[in-house]
Every structure is written in C-alpha cells, then in structure tokens.
Amino acid sequence: MSVTYIDAIRAAQETLLREDSRVFLYGQDIATFGGAFKATKGLAEMFPNRVFDSPISEDAMIGLAVGAAIEGMRPIIEMQFADFSSVAFNQIVNQAATHFYRTGMPIPITVRLPSGGTPGSGPFHSQSMEGIYAQYPGLVVLTPASVSDAYHMLIDAVALDDPVIFCEHKFLYRWLKAKSINGDHLPIGQARIIRPGKHATVVAYSAMVHEAVRAADRLQQDGWEIEVVDLRSVKPLDIDTVLASVARTGRLLAVGEAFPWGGVTAEVVSRVTEEGFHLLDAPPQRLNARDTPVPYHPKLWAAHRPTPESICQALRKLLAF
C-alpha cells in the first residue's frame, strides 16, 4: 500500500476533526465535492456540520476564521488555489498576522494553499506565495516536501497558536508516494538534511527538494557529492542547519519555485552571507522561476521553473568556481 501527499493531507484533516472538537474546515467546494483536489473527500459526511462550502469570498473566509479563532475555534481554511489567497491578503497579513502583537491574543488559524505549478495551469493557478507571506511578521509559513511531513506538519500547524500558511505543492499531490506516513516527526522550524554530501549544499523546499535530489543524483555520476537541505519551514527559517551544511561543503545554491525578486532563496543567501561568509569558498547562488507570470504551455512552464537540468548547470558553475 502506498500513500500519496494528498492522502496525507486528507488524513491529517480527518485526524484533526476526530481528535479536536475546535477544528472545522471552511473553503470552496470542500464539502460534498470534497475539494478541487479532493483533499477533504468524504470528510463532510464523516463529520456533519464541521466541513463547510464557502461562498467565493476569500477575504471573508479568512475574516470568518479569525473571528472563530478569537472565540476558541481552530479553523482550517482551504484556498482553492494559493493564487486566490491574494484576495484574502489583507485579512491574512493585517488582521490575522498582527493580532497577537497588538492584543496579546494569538489567532490559531491554518490556511492551506495549494501552491506551485503543474503543466497547463497558467498564470493564476500556479503561484508560489510563501515568500510574500514570510515577509510579514506574525505568520508561520510551512512548505512540506514529503508525504510524512504533509501529514505531521499539518497536524502540528493546527496545534500552533499562531496563524499558519500551509503551502502544499499541487505537483506533489498525486505524484509523490510513500509507503506510510511514518517519519522522524521533526518539529516545525527545523530543516532536514535529506541527502548528505560534501562538495556543495542545495537548500530547497517543497517540490524543488525533489528536483534538487534528481540533480544531485546526476552529478553523483561525475563523482560530486551534493548535500540537499529541505527547509520544511520557510518561516521560521532554520538557518543553523543551513550554516552547518555550508560549513561542511563551502558552497551554497538556494533553489525555489517562486519569482526571483526577493523571497525565500534571497533570504537564505543573505543570511548565509551575513552569518557564514567565512564558510563560503564560492559566491552563494540562487535559482528561481523566471521573472514573468507562470506560463500556460507545458514547454514554457517547464523552462520557467528550475529543473534538474538547470539545477545541475547552476551546481556545475558553483563547483567550478
């Protein structure tokens, strides 16, 4: 039996609904239909009056969740696509994210963002929003890359008292399989070295972890040992694990699927440069999507985001320095 990434997300929500009466699910087409990606399939029948179809009102969905959290609930809000959370941006960054600092009362909401590109999805169903949300104080931003993390990090996200932006990668939903959801259950905020190496460090998160591992596999044929760090959580950012890896390898490439201006990879490179400049044997590198909207056609899309080929190319340049 194998478990997919989306199975894990659905299972986590089932566990949460079963074990915590404060949890409810609110989102578009998530009740009878089971969600655009079936992340809530069957849950409305299993848990009557706990799983609700919402109107197409991203702003009000988050506003409602914030109000419910003030009154003691633990809402999980499904954005149909991460891209649409831009409509809820105000409620997320101004209402939910500022609340604890201003009032002393945290807002325990979890916002699930089906993120990242898939072939043919185009500019408005493909975005990676983690860097934007991480920029704002008061949010925890998670980017699970494995089946086990998808399950455990969602459970842990709901247990946190703070608002969590949970970025699930749509490409991983059905492509990524594991034998079980069991794992090491690292706490939120801790990165994981998923592949040890000594010649260069690739820091990645979400679907890019898998692209980085593919690139590392190819370079291994030439004798290069590439260490891959899965950030898991982009905020808080586990810079200690990254620095420890760079201390071993002396070389850093940060890979992300988001747009190239600023963002998570820029933060990683900047923090390593600031705190670990003496560890670097080469200028730290970044690889991101291109600075255009995410294109529709699969050929354009595949060339828009980092691929094993482009990661290999960036690593060879880094290793040759």
């Binding site: 009000a60 409602l64 105000n90 209402q95 609340h99 201003r102 455990h152 090491d184 259950h185």
Partner: protein, 325 residues
C-alpha cells in the same frame, strides 16, 4: 453619548496641544447612533466591533474610559500597550475585537465569532454588531462579509453611519444607488433606515434590528443618515463640507437633540444633565491624568516578537505511528 462627547472634546484639546501623537478621530455627530447600538447590546453575551467613530458605543458597551486615554496617550498599561494607538483598540476576549484600518474587514470577523458560537452550540440569544461608514460600504470586504453572514444566516447587525463624507469624498462619488439600504435587499437581509441625529429614533430602530437578529431573522442592516460634525480626524477642518449641509437638518447636533428629547419626555431634568456633564468631565480628567502619569512602553524591554510560539520547538521523536485510515 454625553460622556463620549466630553471625552472626545478633551482628546481634541490634547491633540491640538501636541500631547497625542498620530491622530485623533472623533465621533462627533454620530454619538446617537453609536450609543443606541452600544446600549442595546448585552456585554458579556453579544459581540461589538466598533469602528473609528464609536466612542459612544464603546462606552455604552462597557469599555473602560482608561482603555481610551491609555491607548491615545501611549500608556504601556493600556490594552494595546503602545503597540497600536487611538481607535485601534479593543478587548477581543470580552467580545470587542480590535479594528484594523482596512474598512469593511470587521464584518466577516464578527460573523466568524458568531459562527464559532453556533459550532459550540451557544449561539442562541446572542448577536454581533459592527458599525461602518458610507465609504466602507464600497469595499469588497464589506460585500464579502455581509454576503457570508447572510449565507450562514448569522445574527449580525451592521450599522452604516452614512455621514455623507468618507474622509473628503461625498456620497455621489461613493455609491450610485438612491439609498444604501437598497443594498440590504441584494444580500437578502433585513434593512432599515433611521435619522441618525435623533436619539430616540436610533434607539427604537437599532433595538428593533437587534431584536430581529436575536430572534433568528438573520443579518440586519441599519442605515443611519447624519452628518459628520468634525473632520475625518482632528488634522482635518472639513472645509469641503458645504455650508448648506451644515445648516440643514442633518447638521444639527445629536447631543443637543438628545438633551431636548430627554427633558421634553421627562426622562431627565436640565439640572440632572448639568450634573452629568460635571460628573463626566471629572471622570475624563481623572482618566487622562492617570494615563499621562503611566509609563510609556520601553523599547529596550519590548520582546519584539510577533508570534506567541517560541521557536525552536523541542523534538519529540514519535512512537511508531499506526494510524492511517
């Protein structure tokens, strides 16, 4: 409403004397609407999300005057501890969420508070209310919030104080319907209008709206027509308000109208009203003096964290997980 007027007159003086940083935003001219709402709500049971011009409603709902003076004067002992100021204050644990500046945003928040109570099985007999202005009625958040409350059939009362100017923008640049209450029909919710300068009319109409919501008739909208009797804030003299509006029916002062109504209806005597004025002025003086004597926040002792969770979290390696459906 009299207490609020006297308090706000003092805030205006403090601002003009340079004792308040940021801004001061008065509810002058809106006290009848706001007080009628605050008085009709039940503290400890109902929810109230006040907005910028709701000092009277806050007071009627039970907000301590010190919350106001401490927040305006930056005392670390206030509910916002110097982290936010002026009208951005509240007590979310006591049913009074804290406004953000983005208009219309509180509508869905109050809806969510009520939604939580429904899930917890304790919604019966409870209502939630918020006040907004004519300008906020143009926002997407207002639309989404009212629609979601209507879809969920929540006991939400939204008061639109149509004070005819959103900052400086007049109604005809804000909306194109004849009256904002027409929007209620579009949402499938109750709608009523009232003369916002008439305290007794406000008390009657707003109490009825709350009664209908409490009785399970779903969201209710009340549009109160009035005129803002100050600028947007005390930095603004409101020069753009035409003289004929100031001289017209809605330019009358609701506090003066209310005093007359109380006397004419035998609810209070002139002497009693004078006594109240003296008593409230003393209360205001005490609340200002106390807040002024208190410490401001100390940046060297501020913890500068926006999260309640303290990272890094400890690692608890799992026992073998067996659950999988």
């Amino acid at each position: 409403m009299l207490r609020a007027r006297i308090l706000e007159n003092k805030l205006s003086s403090l601002y003009k004397a340079g004792k308040i940083v940021g801004g001061v935003y008065l509810g002058r001219g809106q006290e009848a609407v706001s007080a009628a709402l605050g008085s009709a709500l039940i503290p400890g049971t109902d929810f109230f999300a006040p907005l910028i011009r709701d000092q009277a409603g806050r007071t009627a709902f039970g907000e301590p005057m010190l919350d106001c003076t401490r927040t305006y004067l930056g005392s670390v002992q206030g509910p916002m501890r110097g982290r936010d100021g002026n009208i951005h204050r509240g007590r979310p644990k006591s049913g009074m969420p804290v406004m953000i500046s983005h208009l219309g945003s509180q509508v869905s928040v109050v809806a969510g508070m009520l939604f939580a109570k429904r899930l917890q099985g304790t919604l019966d007999g409870r209502v939630g209310a918020t006040c907004i202005g004519d300008g906020a009625s143009s926002t997407g958040a207002f639309h989404e919030g009212l629609n979601i409350a209507a879809v969920e059939k929540l006991p939400l009362v939204v008061i639109i104080a149509n004070n005819q100017f959103a900052y400086s923008t007049p109604n005809h640049r804000q909306f194109a319907c004849a009256d904002l209450v027409e929007k209620a029909r579009g949402y499938g919710i109750g709608g009523m209008t009232v003369d916002g300068t008439d305290l007794l009319a406000c008390a009657s109409v707003i109490t009825e709206a709350i009664h209908r919501a409490r009785a399970g008739q779903g969201p209710q909208m009340v549009v109160a027509r009035l005129l803002r009797l100050s600028g947007h804030g005390e930095h603004d003299d409101g020069f753009y308000v035409p003289g004929d509006l100031r001289q017209g029916h809605y330019g009358r002062d609701c506090v003066e109208v209310a005093m007359l109504q109380l006397v004419e209806n035998g609810i209070a005597t002139v002497d009693e009203i004078f006594e109240w004025q003296e008593q409230f002025a003393e209360e205001v003086q005490r609340a200002v003096a106390q807040a002024q004597q208190e410490e401001p926040p100390d940046p060297y002792h501020e913890d500068w964290t926006a999260l309640s969770t303290r990272f890094p979290l400890p690692h608890h390696p799992p026992a073998t997980q067996s659950f999988f459906p």
